[in-house]
């Protein structure tokens, strides 16, 4: 029941923001802040519940209510350690998204925060839905408000970017819908029980070719979201044009729904088909790592640059998931978390720079360390996180993924490891263009304000803590090593 409350708080908070802003525009941001904070508190409060849970059963909260019984649709939500971690990430980044929009958004604030909160609600729903109909429903809920965020509050080329984002993800969604329906009917014909319930559908017996085609429906939707090369093209545009909070949510959370979907649905429902396609997916992942890094190196638009680093880092997720190694799987979860934090922080940084310099072009920056020593210091930490420096969370993630992959697929793992060199190259270039060299910009810039400092400090501390104390996360998602038969070995 508590999970329903979490969703309702966000949905209601969103509506409240909209209504309140009619009278008092500034009230909306406070409502939004309180709403997301309340959810974060609830999510934190679930920690002891999880700890106290007696047996190994990974689902420590499971709630089911009838929704459309005639079609076998139920309101089934459940929480395990993996979903729980993702919820924490969602609300943590959600608060930061509200905070970073504090002054940036001046028009239609009520509707803005409505969209922000509804996106968050959609994302939370995706992470806890255990009914495929509900899952698809939430998948769409997070898409439309995000589309509005980009098209209404975005930058100059926002229309192009928003439509591109919408078309790409919608194309994937439709394939997924077909796959869900196929699964629904096959399962219904086999058992006579027409249901969208995740746990029931897990038992569906599929012929190899049906399994492959159905799986592809899911997989394509998820890899578009992830995004994997060659479906990544929506990302740089969407990231580049979205408002700062939009980029933060995109990089930090929306991409993660793709990774989540693969782990939660593709592997357990289609174990054999997933194993069959695994080498290709690892190949795509490796291609993404290298290709994304090469593109990141050549960008001059700061936000596009960071977007391409995301493509590169999410390649690691694909490699890790399909290497069917328990170590790599833990690494994937770490990557989901730490990439969300570090790349989110980089986008926030880009937003802060844009607010001051009114440009995203790094050739017009340079020498900013002198005038912004605080941001410079933070930037070092964040670029190093992106470059996978040990003691920071991203290292644990990439180290586990590569280590785990190496025993199954040494050659591709080695090529992926070369991504570490490339990540150093593009990270240093970014650092250098923005912060080093002689001061180029003539606009006087001020260093971080207290609010900005709090945002970036919170993120930096989380990255360091995850790097030095990753064990709690590893323990929480330990059960993921049972989701696929190959992982046991």
């Amino acid at each position: 029941m508590i999970l329903i409350w979490m969703l309702c708080i966000l949905l209601a908070g969103g509506i409240l923001c909209w209504l309140a802003a009619q009278r008092q525009p500034l009230l909306a941001r406070w409502i939004a802040l309180i709403t997301v904070s309340a959810d974060l508190l609830i999510a934190c409060w679930l920690f002891p519940v999880y700890q106290a849970f007696p047996d190994n059963s990974s689902w420590f909260i499971n709630y089911q209510a009838n929704w459309i019984p005639a079609l076998g649709v139920s309101f089934h939500v459940a929480l395990d350690g993996f979903s729980h971690i993702l919820l924490l990430l969602t609300y943590f980044l959600g608060i930061l998204a509200v905070l970073c929009s504090w002054k940036e958004v001046r028009e239609r604030t009520g509707f803005y925060f409505f969209n922000l909160l509804w996106t968050l609600a959609g994302i939370s729903g995706v992470f806890i839905a255990m009914d495929l109909f509900l899952f698809y429903f939430c998948w769409e809920i997070m898409l439309i408000p995000m589309f509005l965020l980009i098209i209404l509050w975005g930058d100059v080329r926002r229309h192009y970017a928003a439509y591109k984002f919408f078309l790409f993800t919608q194309a994937g969604s439709l394939l997924m819908l077909l796959a869900i329906l196929a699964l629904y009917f096959i399962h219904g014909q086999q058992t006579g029980n027409y249901t969208f319930d995740y746990f029931a559908l897990l038992q569906t017996a599929l012929t190899p070719s049906t399994a492959m085609w159905t799986m592809l429906g899911f997989l394509i939707a998820f890899v578009i979201k992830l995004p994997a090369v060659p479906f990544h093209n929506w990302l740089p545009d969407a990231h580049g044009e979205a408002p700062t909070a939009g980029s933060l949510l995109l990089a930090g959370l929306l991409l993660k729904t793709g990774a989540y979907g693969i782990i939660r649905f593709v592997l357990p429902i289609f174990p054999q088909a997933a194993a069959d396609i695994a080498p290709w997916m690892i190949l795509i992942g490796v291609a993404g790592i290298i290709y994304g890094a090469l593109l990141a190196f050549s960008q001059t638009d700061l936000k596009r640059l960071i977007a391409y680093t995301s493509v590169s880092h999410m390649g690691f997720v694909l490699v890790g998931v399909f290497s069917f190694s328990s170590i790599a799987m833990q690494g994937v979860v770490m990557q989901i978390l730490t990439h969300g934090l570090s790349t989110g922080a980089l986008f926030l940084m880009a937003g802060m720079l844009k607010e001051r310099l009114h440009t995203r072009d790094i050739t017009k920056m340079g020498g900013l360390w002198t005038s912004m020593p605080r941001l410079g210091g933070m930037a070092i930490l964040l670029t190093m996180a992106s470059a996978g420096l040990p003691a920071l969370g991203n290292f644990i993630a990439e180290f586990f993924i590569l280590l785990g992959t190496f025993s199954n697929n040494p050659v591709l793992s080695i090529i992926a490891t070369l991504g570490l060199i490339l990540s150093a190259v593009y990270s240093l270039r970014m650092m250098q263009k923005v912060f080093m060299g002689p001061l180029i910009s003539t606009v006087p810039v001020v260093d971080l304000s207290a609010r900005e400092l709090i945002i970036l400090t919170a993120l930096s501390i989380s990255i360091v803590v995850l790097g030095l104390f990753p064990q709690p996360v590893i323990d929480t998602v330990h059960h993921l090593s049972t989701i696929h038969p190959l992982l046991h070995e």
């Binding site: 093209n233 050549s298 190093m384 040990p390 290292f395 590569l402 280590l403 190496f406 240093l428 064990q471």
Partner: protein, 629 residues
């Protein structure tokens, strides 16, 4: 004592945290107190610890301390935990002791700098990272220190980040060492796959059981680890970052070259000695890399004009000696050379820094000259350092360590006459350029008027280092002269003893040859650079000599080679694909849809005749189709 182990790296770390978070609000004196104080206390603890260690060695041969559990996942268990045995002890002594002296020196040297706190914060972190590297009990933690060192070198080489040359050098250092690091981490993956552990004592114990000598797996691992070492220790072919690393302030160079960073590779190989011993091929490669590097870098050092570049190339060359020693199996000799080299190289860099500072940031030695009288303390300490570098017999520490290596280059199990010859040539070159350096900088006429002379805060560390540049050698004498081998005895608790070949001439013959060669080198330097040498003038006229000189001067054109082979193709590929070629596919889909849209919307023109025609054609089409099928 064991329970205080953590303080050694923790104090510099605390210094870093305080200075980086609150440095802006602190006075200069306070910053200096924290920055240098943290390392000094760390050094004191190290000295106490070593005294205890030497008096009553722990039963297991090592002090250990587990700080916290880092992670454990599917058989890979790593703790943040420290382990200090004899080998680590040598390294932490050098790191903290020389680090402390460099920090004290920096108090005065960096006094006027705008970013005083940032400087000390980075320096403290550097020392901390290096300490983690040598104190780690597992390879993941070692890698943490390893990368941390890379980060700090980046921060410090690019310390004056406003000048393009400086940040380029910093980027170069980071990227090139990262290439080595990546090879190393692949080595770790392979090690874990084969042995199922990355805990160093277990790795060493299991390696002997798991691998037969000369097995492919172990050779591959050893070579990958060696690549990591080559990156950090600036060995061929990954040496090109070090000469450029001079862009940082002089104390940074001293720290990089003496106490931290470049010795990391030496440590790694010594630490993983079992793996290397199992693979004769990898040992050979190590020795060859060392020998070639020491020669190549020595040649370049001979012709440089920038005082710090001379020293940089000399470091590459001296680390080459260490690699050579490790490669031929003379483990303790390699570590001993690291030990003595740390003193005189730190001394040389700090003294060079003082010279440069006094001469208003003049780096070119040919614009110096005549400083013997005006800067006596610097002159004497620098000369002692250079003499140690040149391995002046019996009175300098450099002699004792280098003499051993020369002897073992032939006589040790993996030795070979060619290696010996290269090492001997290197010894000649080293003596030559050391002499050149001293004569050009301190003799002759004064070409730049000195400014403020260095204060006592800067000269006292120099004197201390000069003392050790002489005395550090006395703890290990050649066997045939005096039976004192305190150093190798201690280190051989961890490292295997050197095995000698049979049937070689007596050691004394080799020693005499080495002494004579060094002396000839010094004499050649003297005759070429003391006053006006006609031979030198003659060479300057000859195009062949000058092209060889240019070749050496450019560091054997490695930079140009990499530029052509790697950098330019990389830049080209990234530049042509800046707008992402794969986007064309989707733009094409969009364009085709637009085109079709335009074509079809023509048909919707509101004309009834047109529609009727359309309907009729459609009916005709369907009927034809039905008739045909």
């Amino acid at each position: 004592m064991q329970q205080y182990l953590y303080l050694i790296p923790a104090l510099p770390l605390a210094g870093f945290l305080v200075l980086s978070l609150a440095g802006r609000y602190l006075s200069r004196n306070f910053i200096a107190g924290i920055g240098a104080g943290s390392i000094c206390i760390s050094a004191l603890i190290t000295i106490l610890l070593s005294a205890r260690f030497l008096q009553s060695p722990p039963e297991t041969g090592a002090y250990t301390q587990v700080l916290w559990h880092w992670f454990s996942v599917e058989g890979l268990v790593s703790n943040i935990s420290l382990r200090v045995d004899s080998l680590s002890l040598v390294f932490i002594c050098i790191i903290t002791f020389i680090g402390a002296l460099i920090h004290i020196y920096s108090i005065a040297f960096m006094r006027e700098d705008r970013d005083y706190a940032r400087f000390f914060a980075s320096m403290n972190l550097f020392v901390c990272a290096m300490l983690m590297l040598v104190m780690a009990d597992n390879l993941v933690l070692l890698y943490l220190g390893w990368e941390g060192v890379g980060l700090c070198s980046y921060l410090l080489i690019g310390f004056w980040y406003e000048t393009p040359g400086n940040y380029r050098a910093a980027n170069k250092a980071f990227v090139i060492t990262r290439i080595g690091d990546t090879a190393m981490i692949i080595g770790l993956f392979l090690l874990f796959k084969e042995l199922g552990t990355l805990y160093i004592p277990d790795v060493l114990a299991r390696a002997t059981q798991h691998f037969s000598s000369g097995a492919d797996g172990v050779t591959l691992i050893a070579i990958l680890l060696l690549c990591g070492g080559m990156g950090k220790s600036a060995q061929l072919p990954l040496q090109t970052w070090l000469p450029d690393a001079m862009a940082g302030p002089s104390p940074v160079s001293a720290l990089i070259h003496a106490a931290t960073m470049v010795t990391a590779g030496v440590y790694l190989i010594a630490r993983m000695h079992t793996i290397f011993e199992l693979s004769p091929v990898a040992m050979q490669i190590t020795a060859i890399v060392g020998a070639v590097t020491l020669f190549v870098a020595g040649c370049s050092a001979m012709v440089q004009t920038d005082i710090k570049r001379i020293l940089a190339y000399s470091t590459i060359s001296q680390i080459g000696y260490m690699f050579l020693a490790l490669g031929v199996g003379a483990w303790s000799a390699g570590i001993f050379h690291f030990f003595t080299h740390a003193f005189f190289k730190a001394l040389l860099f700090l003294a060079a820094g003082a010279v440069i500072e006094t001469l208003h940031h003049e780096h070119n030695i040919f614009k110096m000259g005549g400083l013997r009288k005006t800067m006596p303390v610097i002159f004497w300490t620098f000369t002692i350092g250079a003499a140690a570098l040149a391995a002046l017999p019996l009175v300098t520490a450099g002699f004792f360590s280098k003499d051993q290596i020369l002897w073992y280059a032939w006589s040790a199990g993996g030795g070979h006459p060619v290696l010996w010859a290269l090492a001997l040539a290197g010894a000649f070159i080293t003596a030559l350029y050391s002499t050149r350096l001293i004569l050009v900088v301190f003799w002759g006429e004064m070409k730049t008027t000195p400014g403020h002379l260095p204060s006592r805060v800067m000269t006292v560390p120099l004197v201390i280092l000069a003392f050790f540049s002489v005395a550090a050698g006395w703890i290990e004498w050649p066997h045939n002269i005096l039976h004192v081998d305190l150093f190798s005895e201690e280190v051989q608790h961890v490292l295997p003893a050197t095995v000698l070949k049979e049937g070689l001439p007596a050691e004394i013959v080799f020693q005499l040859i080495a002494v004579v060669v060094s002396l000839i080198g010094i004499y050649s330097g003297y005759s070429l650079y003391y006053g006006q040498s006609p031979l030198l003038q003659q060479w300057k006229q000859s195009p062949t000599v000058m092209s060889v000189r240019d070749f050496f001067f450019s560091g054997w054109r490695f930079d140009q080679l990499y530029d052509a082979l790697i950098v330019r193709p990389f830049l080209f590929i990234t530049r042509i694909n800046k707008s992402d070629i794969s986007d064309k596919l989707y733009t094409a889909i969009a364009n085709v849809s637009m085109l079709l849209n335009r074509q079809f919307s023509v048909t919707q023109n509101g004309s009834l005749r047109w529609y009727v025609t359309g309907v009729l054609i459609g009916i005709l089409f369907i009927i034809t189709l039905q008739l045909l099928l």
